[in-house]
């Protein structure tokens, strides 16, 4: 099978799992843990599929865009695996047999904050790569995509603030709020819109850096 198709399928699966992981009140604890394990496997697979990038690390010229990609990758990997590690330590279902190697108070606080950092960094990660993924599309299509993304991102910004997203990132809110009255579909859609904000931020940054890169060369 075409490796391009496999890569896109893995990417789509990761995005879907991400929305579900960020909807704990929809999935419940047990499924949340299995989804976390699935995500860990997908992240590892994603890195194997894109190993050429890993091999190129430190070689060639580092444009601002490439620096942004690299910094984002490193932070994302650190945040994600730290989140996973804390999650495993708190497990009471899927991998309960290896849990408990971190104090649960520390694991809980770190898992909550770092999962939100990971969410934001994943959005930016998608955004930074979006110009490459849509490189073959026509100019009109690109502009339309960007406009739609912008509208979603604007809605996402409202939701990020309404849901106190940044309070979790910066440990202002130490426990997650699960609104069990909220419809499951609404929870997932809100997650999509919130991710759109970070995707847009990443894309905007990528486009600006690419433009200024072209000018300077």
């Amino acid at each position: 099978m075409n490796s391009f198709i496999i890569k896109r399928c893995v990417d789509a699966a990761m995005t879907l799992v991400l929305f579900l992981l960020m909807a704990y009140q929809v999935t419940g604890g047990a499924l949340h843990e299995w989804l976390g394990i699935a995500m860990t496997a997908l992240v590892i697979f994603h890195n194997i599929l894109n190993r050429s990038r890993l091999r190129a690390f430190g070689k060639g010229r580092y444009t601002p865009y490439r620096i942004a990609l690299t910094v984002n990758d490193i932070l994302l990997l650190l945040c994600f695996f730290a989140t996973a590690l804390c999650g495993i330590s708190m497990s009471s279902h899927a991998v309960a047999f290896i849990s408990g190697f971190l104090p649960s108070s520390v694991a809980r606080a770190a898992h909550l904050a770092l999962s939100h950092w990971s969410f934001a960094l994943m959005g930016i990660h998608i955004g930074l790569h979006l110009p490459q993924m849509t490189a073959k599309a026509g100019k009109k299509v690109k502009t339309a995509l960007l406009a739609v993304l912008f509208i979603f991102a604007a809605a996402g910004m409202f939701l990020l603030i309404k849901n106190g997203f940044f309070g979790y990132m910066f440990l202002q809110t130490r426990f997650a709020f699960f609104d069990y009255e909220k419809n499951s579909a609404v929870v997932i859609i809100e997650n999509m819109l919130m991710l759109a904000f970070f995707v847009f931020a990443g894309t905007a940054a990528a486009l600006i850096m690419k433009k200024s890169n072209k000018k300077s060369t």
């Binding site: 809980r108 604007a154 910004m157 069990y180 433009k211």
Partner: protein, 232 residues
């Protein structure tokens, strides 16, 4: 380039607009409604100022659990209640008791929780994972003798502290009115009012009030409003 810049400027404007709507301390659970048995019966405090029938002449108890190791009597008699020398749930309990009258009692564990916050967190997690029922000391009152019971607790690991499970296991509140309230640091009531409905299927359990522990001292107005809605 221009297009992108315009988009970003528009974005920054939206962000600053959205910023105005942010920030909230406590989440009053809105209308005090109760439909414990799914019968569709809703009991709401009169929004037009009328009192729900029969709040008078009823025996009221405020009973609560709070992590601070102080006695309720001390808390009540201290001239200016403050969360410095009492837990935030305790602070709210004392305030509610001062408004609605009746008696107040504190649920005190037989085995103290660790002094440190993190120590308590770990101990509480172990209790929850083990589905334990930690014992509490004899209350000075018998809760079943009261008609209306305000029950207060902090959120612990996204649910009621396990000692509250012991509390609801110990007493049968059939036919009584339970009005829960809780403190938290983010998770609101976390569905605990519905949990209490499951523990006490034959009691009328109101939707309670969830208060941020950190802003307990600033929540007097919210509590007043909530109590007024209940007819107190």
């Amino acid at each position: 380039m221009k297009k992108i810049t315009a988009l970003i400027i528009a974005f920054v404007m939206i962000i600053s607009l959205a910023g105005c709507g942010a920030g909230n301390g406590s989440e009053p659970a809105g209308e005090a409604t109760s439909d414990a048995d799914g019968s569709g019966v809703t009991q709401a405090g009169g929004s037009d100022g009328t009192q729900p029938a029969g709040t008078e002449g009823k025996k009221i108890l405020t009973v609560y659990f709070s992590s601070a190791n102080t006695a309720a009597v001390d808390a009540v008699s201290s001239a200016t209640p403050s969360v410095k020398n009492m837990g935030s749930t305790e602070y709210i309990a004392v305030y509610i008791n001062s408004k609605v009258g009746g008696d107040i009692a504190k649920i005190t564990p037989v085995k103290d929780y660790p002094e440190s916050y993190n120590g308590t967190l770990d101990a509480a997690k172990a209790e929850r994972d083990g589905d334990e029922r930690p014992e509490f000391r004899n209350l000075d009152v018998s809760p079943e003798d009261y008609d209306v019971i305000f029950v207060g607790y902090p959120m612990w690991w996204y649910t009621l502290p396990m000692i509250m499970y012991t509390f609801f296991d110990t007493y049968d509140f059939s036919g009584k009115t339970i009005i829960p309230f809780n403190t938290h640091e983010g998770s609101g009531d976390g569905g605990t009012y519905n949990e209490i409905r499951e523990f006490e299927p034959d009691a009328t359990v109101y939707d309670g009030l969830a208060v941020r522990g950190g802003s307990a001292e600033k929540s007097d107005e919210d509590i007043d409003k909530w109590l007024a809605g209940l007819g107190y």
